[in-house]
Symmetry: D2
Subunit: 278 residues, 4 copies
């Protein structure tokens, strides 16, 4: 069994602090934003809307691991610059994905949290670089990874000296294609038992269907997740990537209220900005 | 696409009425009891405890589909008689599984709800008999059945004239063995959208781990399930079947309170007995 | 571990003798015929063609476990009578599926081998009846059954006194839908090692694509299968069930020749009729 | 659908020429060697033995993607140097895995074929680098990748101008853990139909069990594979990685003879060195 990630080696829960937002403590947090950063306007409009609705952290992809080489691959560094600007304007810290060991330094320059996505979970050289960078890591479960493999992969990051790892369930692949992936919520209590690291859930990728996101978000919170990461787009129908799993801003605003209620029902709270939104 | 189970053919939700307990309405319901009926005392003691804690319906297996021929196969008709007695004593309606077309009549004589288990989901002759019997049917999803196959199998029952079918997610088989099965909660909103039939969740089989049942029960309710079916044993360590997934009565009592809170958070209530428990 | 099916309990291979055709010995055998018996003419024409091409045993379904209640369900006893007739006319023994404990006696009256299909692998009452009948049993692996569950299910049959069980891999369900099922050929050497029972392969259901059947049949023989069971239809385009996985008679005739060559390459032979075909 | 990999865009089969060894032509080829290069002696001894037995290409890993950070990670460049030396000594071209975009140039310097392993199938930056390098690419299927995803990933390599891609089935992950992975041989005829690229099979990773490798190798050839890649170790019991799936040299020698026979049975031949082995 892995040692550094193991709850036995560190019984108290790890809280990862992101610019004053504690992930893994009594409060649940919300990460929201578009799948891909498409242009300045799309990102800024979405950022303001999710911030006003109560999101704590902004997400947005600049390097996209697309199944087809002919799909939109992301804006690259241009997207990272927009993300940094959007962060300054809204006051929200930001998270974005890194795909390549050669981009780690660049991505770290612009982001508050480095994301390692599902398709990179077994990319051990990338995990080692993430372990050496000075940023918290949002580390998604591989769509085909057992819990043991997932924790051993997280161990690669901790081994290198980086303890600030946030785990994230984002759906696994099963025989049933009714949903894009099968969101495996039982992994939430299981991970909380096996490791001290915080655990959040991405119901957008986990289901692939925006109408299903509210129900599965509430379920994730009820199951004990420390937060959720959800895709919101100012105009889902125009999205260049994953439009059918992106929430409309108004549906996201309603969802924040619902999260608040479910969190309360299980004895937790939603983390709130200390200052009022812009 | 199937016609009778399809929500398009009947937009309003079907409520299955079990001796005054409506399944599929605004209130969520709780089915609880031992996996297998082992003897009179075990069943009666467990029945009284779950009833006192707030369970609405009693479960207990008399015919058990065991993986090994050398495992305890159930008490058969003797078990059914105990179940009927326990029903009279507590006032709770009862549900028990049928495995064989030849036993349908016998099982129906003693039970309020006939259960078709996961391993029988593709047993079409049994489904046809269930469609002809005059009892509501608790119809579990096959552990490796797609949603489409599941609904087409339910259609076999409705085709024969029986509309009182309650669907039940109980975990699917995936590549990951960290839990006994992978509880697929996204199927709850999906089924609610595709069909008018009520949908409940069995977190005991779905996880195989009693300590995980409370978290997944709350998640199931938050996801929109119309009820849960949970295994409780008066002495889990002595259980002849599935002991490690059975709740202690005191943990079940706490769980009922938690269900009440989560149901309220999403605008529903827990169904309560009109009379006080024995 | 199971005892009666275990190779440790009986190191020498079991040969199941079907009217002089040994299954599980040095020679490989071929079972062929239509998925469903549709009418007298279709069965007879197909039977004569596969017999002339070298098939040893005739298959044909009279009771069909169809996913939808609105699909053709088989001819029932009428189909069994045609099968018996076709057997007399061609001299080939026949195999057909039983779905219901109540039909076991009827099916046994007309057939040389009773088939328990994939969807019935967990139907333990049916397995017990198969164990009591006086006919050899062709027992297919469940599409979602582990090897351990499969062998324990076979143990149900042996337990009742019937040792004449032929195992059959017919494809498992995985995340990939490129083929109808995923034919798991590694189970062939695995089963041969774990049990003394003969093991055959059904590449028709295992792939769902007739053009792929020849390649996978040769692979099955090379992997060590004791025979194959393959769907052939006199007019595949008109088939009421599984037409797209049925071979044309002329392709089957070619396949028999190819099987002969591959069998020889691994030191085995194809079983041949002692008398010439009709 | 992808264009460059598509058989419709190029109906004739692509043959990838490796120092005079054509992969994808009428002859089948054999790649053999240890999982990991452990030291000079182990590699050289194994190389000589597999060469003498008839292997065409030598395999050996210098960078290993290990599930645990505490497992042997490979010798790195030191291993690559041994590989180059072993190539010179035996005359066999060599293949080794690259894990990191930053190592592409280094790996290409020492190897004849660059391998992209299963865990890197979705590593799109690495695929793009492989597309730009001047070496043939042995591109393994992800253990949970659909055929469509696999071909789209191969398209990333072809897009960049590298047409010399060899596909390799190495087992997929399913619900059944009886074998380490489930070798999906039906993908062989499927890929041969969908794409013009050569397709080989790795039965060592695909089963994880050395005793099963001979049966599955013969099955792979019978299914139409253009070659196999198999792990052989001079002392399997001492292997630092995957010892239980490595063949003894003498079993490999027997297997080469068996491949020859099965290849002949389906109208192909085994590629032979023009010069006699050392």
């Amino acid at each position: 069994m892995p040692s550094r990630v193991d709850r036995k080696s560190k019984p108290e829960a790890t809280q990862v602090n992101i610019s004053g937002i504690p992930i893994g403590g009594p409060e649940v947090i919300i990460i929201a934003g578009p799948c891909a950063i498409e242009n300045r306007e799309q990102l800024f409009e979405t950022a303001k809307l999710v911030h006003a609705a109560g999101a704590n952290i902004l997400r947005g992809g600049a390097f996209k691991p697309r199944t087809s080489p002919y799909s939109f691959q992301g804006l690259g560094e241009e997207g990272l610059k927009y993300l940094e600007e959007a962060s300054k304007e809204t006051g929200m810290p930001v998270v974005t994905e890194v795909l390549d060991t050669r981009q780690m330094e660049l991505v770290c320059k612009y982001t508050d949290i480095v994301q390692i996505g599902s398709r990179s979970m077994h990319n051990y050289p990338l995990l080692k670089e993430a372990g050496k960078c000075m940023k918290p890591v949002l580390f998604k479960r591989g769509m085909m990874a057992t819990v043991e493999e997932y924790l051993l992969a997280a161990e690669y990051i901790l081994c290198e000296g980086n303890q600030d790892v946030i785990l994230c369930e984002r759906g696994i692949r099963t025989f049933d294609n009714s949903t894009r992936f099968t969101l495996d919520l039982s992994v939430v209590p299981l991970l909380k038992r096996l490791t001290h690291l915080p655990v959040i859930v991405d119901p957008s990728h986990g289901t692939g269907l925006s109408w299903m996101v509210p129900a599965m978000t509430k379920a994730a919170i009820a199951a004990g997740a420390d937060g959720i990461m959800v895709e919101v787009h100012n105009k889902p129908l125009d999205a260049l990537s994953d439009g059918q799993q992106s929430l409309y801003p108004e549906d996201f605003a309603q969802l924040v209220k619902d999260i608040e209620k479910v969190a309360k029902a299980i004895g937790r709270k939603l983390f709130h900005h200390k200052q009022s939104p812009v």
